[in-house]
Amino acid sequence: MLLRHLQNVRREIALPASKRAGSLALRHVDAGSCNGCEHELAATANPYYDLQRHGLNIVASPRHADVLLVTGQITIRMVDSLRRAYEAMPEPRLVVALGDCATGCTMLGDPRQLAGPLEEILPVDLRIPGCPPAPQKIAEELLGLMRDMAEHSTTRRAFVEEAITPPTRDVEAIDTKGAKHA
């Protein structure tokens, strides 16, 4: 009965097969979002979008990931963890800013608690705007990223680049930066 219901759901939605499936492993970090981007990112797994059919998977460890998906305004309490996640990833590694907060369009909050926009902390390769971006939009953008990586393997941050040391800044400096943005 439940399975039959799901078969009906599948037939109703009738998603087309993925034209050019590939393989891309995503790791999500919530650096201070309002939970909206998380809900929409999780929604990309439901039968209406089924991101998995393109070979896009959310993985359990940054060690397994190609892409770091960052959501939210970067808070001072999350900035170190965010850097650790990036450092834990094998190369090549990309950073995607998901949603208006992460892309730096919204700075709402107490500047003393925020560490500044994502691009000042990690090199951002793709920005997905929206508050929050719709699942369809997320799916399209990530799919585009995967195809770009497959087509121009040169645009990958290549092996040869030695381990990227993220810019180190102390908390005081971040505070004043944050204040400017607010």
């Binding site: 460890s61 650790r84 834990a88 190369e91 030695e162 381990a163």
Partner: protein, 436 residues
């Protein structure tokens, strides 16, 4: 098994090389006595003796490894493994007797050879492990498992040979423990194929017990290697540990080499051992073990293939590596307080076997004014034979009459009944075997 209680207590007290001797020789002396009595003087001793020996063996190998798993002190843990291994030897000897009785002299000889080979192997790897333990004790002081760690980097020789010994005792291919356990398992398995129902049941149960024992031994030595050799040092002495002198290292390397040699070439020894057995059967001599009725164990090829493949795969995987980064801990800075303890690693099993092991645990909340200040946790796995058998007896000697009330109240009783019932079942099985 029930008479072993002195062993785990004696081992930690004795110095390492004495321990090595104790497990290597003293236990073997007892076994020698047993073999003499059963195979020479009483021969043929009858089916029930073989079955009983197997029952005792199964009980002591499962019990030994189970309690070994719960230990916190390295030498005590190794001592419990001696009980386990003697149990395995007893299983082999028992199987040999049973085979002799049901008219399969060939398998009787193989089982006998298996038992002797395992006894020899045990002397080698247990000696190696005790020497290693001694080296660690010398380097860092204590052998509390939860207070060691990270010693493989500081003591590469001792560490590597100790790890090898652990692999051998855990019965992993291509080392000697695997060869003798394979032989023993094959004999028990073929006992399970016997045409007498009682014998077949005994064989099948013993096979399952030994398989479980082998898996438990792997579990246990993953824990031991992990706690002692790997991870971060858990106290300052471990971080500054020094490798032991060459003499000690040499003896360990020698024992380790013997473990490898006997693992790779057991076939050179097994026919000789089999010829010593009751049937005086001669087996075909080869590097590996090629026994009809099995798929054969070509130890040499297996070992070579493993080494070659591992080497090739490691080479292939040697790609560029990202910059060193601490172990991923969900974005937290790594901290020593997060290292696992011995009890933690074995907890899943302890929870599963709660009814059997009867761990005692207690959690107290220390709170005043509505804020929880601290919690206090206490737990231990009592040694059933101590608490159920020797405890009451010694207490009984002191307190006479009160013991009757003790035994009647509470859970002790149920467990005595379980043990008695188990014994009864085994005896019944043996009887049906006799009749069948």
């Amino acid at each position: 098994m029930p008479l072993h209680s002195w062993l785990p207590r004696a081992h930690p007290l004795a110095p390492a090389h004495i321990s090595a001797l104790m497990s290597g020789v003293m236990i073997k002396l007892a076994l020698y006595g047993l073999v003499r009595v059963l195979f020479d003087w009483l021969a043929p001793p009858g089916l029930w003796v073989g079955i009983t020996l197997m029952a005792v063996g199964a009980l002591s190998c499962l019990g030994g490894v189970l309690y070994a798993l719960m230990q916190h002190e390295l030498k005590r843990l190794l001592a419990f493994h001696s009980i386990e291994n003697v149990g395995i030897v007893a299983l082999g000897l028992g199987a040999s007797l049973v085979f002799a009785d049901i008219g399969q002299p060939r398998w009787s000889a193989i089982a006998f050879a298996a038992a002797l080979l395992h006894a020899l192997n045990h002397a080698l790897f247990k000696g190696l492990l005790f020497l290693g333990a001694g080296a660690f004790a010398k380097a860092v002081g204590g052998l509390e498992l939860d207070r060691l760690g990270g010693l493989l980097r500081r003591m590469p020789w001792t560490g590597a040979t100790f790890a090898l010994g652990a692999m051998a005792i855990a019965g992993l291919p291509p080392l000697n423990g695997f060869a003798s356990e394979w032989l023993t398992l094959q004999s028990l398995l073929h006992l399970g194929l016997a045409s007498q129902m009682g014998v077949a049941f005994a064989g099948a149960l013993a096979t399952a017990a030994l398989a479980g024992t082998a898996a438990l031994a792997v579990y246990c030595f993953v824990k031991v290697i992990g706690l002692v050799l790997l991870g971060l040092p858990r106290r300052a002495e471990c971080a500054q540990a020094r490798e032991v002198p060459v003499g000690m290292r040499a003896s360990m390397v020698f024992l380790a080499a013997s473990c490898v040699a006997l693992g790779v070439l057991p076939g050179l020894l097994v026919p000789t051992l089999a010829a010593l057995g009751p049937g005086r059967v001669t087996l075909h001599e080869a590097a590996g073990l090629n026994i009809p009725g099995t798929g054969s164990l070509p130890t040499l090829v297996l070992a070579l293939a493993l080494v070659a493949l591992v080497g090739a795969l490691v080479r292939l995987a040697r790609s560029r590596r990202a910059a060193p980064a601490p172990t991923w801990t969900c974005g937290q800075p790594p901290a020593a307080g997060l290292q696992w303890t011995s009890a933690g690693f074995t907890k899943p099993l302890r929870l599963v076997l709660e009814a059997l092991l009867r761990p005692r645990r207690e959690l107290r909340v220390i709170a005043s004014s509505g804020v929880v200040e601290a919690l206090a946790y206490q737990a231990e796995v009592p040694h059933l034979f101590d608490t159920l058998l020797y405890g009451p007896v010694s207490r009984g000697a002191l307190r006479g009459a009160r013991i009757a009330r003790r035994v009647q109240s509470g859970s002790l009783r149920t467990y005595l009944i379980y043990l008695l019932a188990l014994l009864g079942v085994l005896l019944a099985l043996a009887r049906t075997g006799v009749l069948g």
